[in-house]
Amino acid sequence: MTERGCWVYGVTDRDPGQELSGLSGVAGGAVRAAPAGGLTALVSDVDLDEFGADALARNLEDLDWLERVARAHHHVIETASRVLPVLPLGLTTVYASEPSMSAAFAERRRDFRDALAVVRDRAEWGVKIYARPERAEPERSEPERSEPEHGSGTGSGAGLAYLKRRRSQLNAAQESRRDAAGAVRALHSALAGHAVRTRIHPPQSPSLSGASAPMLLNAAYLLDQADEAGFQAAVLAASDTHPELRLEVTGPWPPYSFAGEAVHGAGEAEDERR
């Protein structure tokens, strides 16, 4: 008989009642509401064979496993967020038992309540900005498959001309990168004007995103529902003003990017008195 642990998806301050019945989470476990130090945690049971510390260390390195688990985790948070205010937890929070989870959460109750107050009735929107590929890197649609570099060692004059051409291309690219960086900063602050909070994520790896164009901004914005229309209008306007940039918007997301920050920032907020 394998040991079971308690996987935590998120925390809420409401009683979900029957709202989440039938919802299944990571590894198909049935999601339930568990008392968690005065709040309610959304949890399901997991096998420690797969989700114990050693197994996690191994499994987190497997992108397919990670994808399955990340999607299941998100599915639960996303579904619950439609009916409850949910403070999402990151991957991977596993407890040996419900009581140990409850005890740990009791210690953080104040933080959780403050964080819930920040994200309540708000959603996260993501904006990614790319340089348009034709601007950034003219020609060469298949960067992997360039001409053979060796075996054709002829014509140093042609080589020199190539180097010159290449250098001027690089200079132009550098300049347009500088312009783009300024435009992106301006766009970000314009969009931030619609948001309660913002967070900049590092640019995504092209090998994961599949995008060939350089990513210039990967940002998240926490929006009041009332501000979403204005935010979208600002994105459209920005994209009209900057044809050299490609903007991609995703959302609404559960407030992942702001849940941790809200908890960590809670101490300072208290100092300023509530």
């Binding site: 998120g10 925390v11 510390a53 996690l56 260390a57 987190l60 390195e61 994808e67 990340a70 999607r71 998100h74 599915h75 439609r82 205010p85 403070l87 999402p88 937890l89 990151g90 991957l91 991977t92 929070t93 596993v94 407890y95 040996a96 989870m101 740990a104 959460f105 009735d121 959603a123 996260e124 993501g126 994520h201 590092p202 640019p203 995504q204 790896s205 090998s207 994961l208 995103s209 998240a220 529902q225 979403e228 229309a229 979208q232 994105v235 459209l236 994209s239 009209d240 044809p243 490609r246 991609e248 995703t250 609404p252 997301w253 992942y256 990017s257 702001f258 849940a259 941790g260 908890v263």
Partner: protein, 84 residues
């Protein structure tokens, strides 16, 4: 969290941004993995539990995942005290 129905769904024109709203029945599989990992790995509340293992704790020396995931690299940078 459900009052998004009134917003216009914006379809991309040639030069327009891609504004994708996630409708309520949007299949989870369609969400880009990389966007999701940005959030569930680098976001969310971090609570220390008895088995809690954040990906930043994982020794990924022999693995390509760390190089693959910007959020993981950023996490490690943040852990070691430098600004992301």
């Amino acid at each position: 969290m459900t009052a998004h129905e009134n917003l216009p769904a914006v379809r991309p024109r040639e030069n327009a941004p891609v504004v994708s709203r996630l409708p309520e029945d949007f299949p989870a599989e369609r969400i880009a993995l990389v966007d999701l990992l940005d959030r569930v790995l680098a976001g969310g509340v971090v609570v220390t539990g008895d088995i809690t293992l954040s990906i930043a704790d994982v020794d990924l020396v022999k693995v390509s995942l760390r190089a693959l995931l910007a959020s993981v690299s950023a996490l490690s940078a943040a852990e070691s005290g430098s600004d992301p």
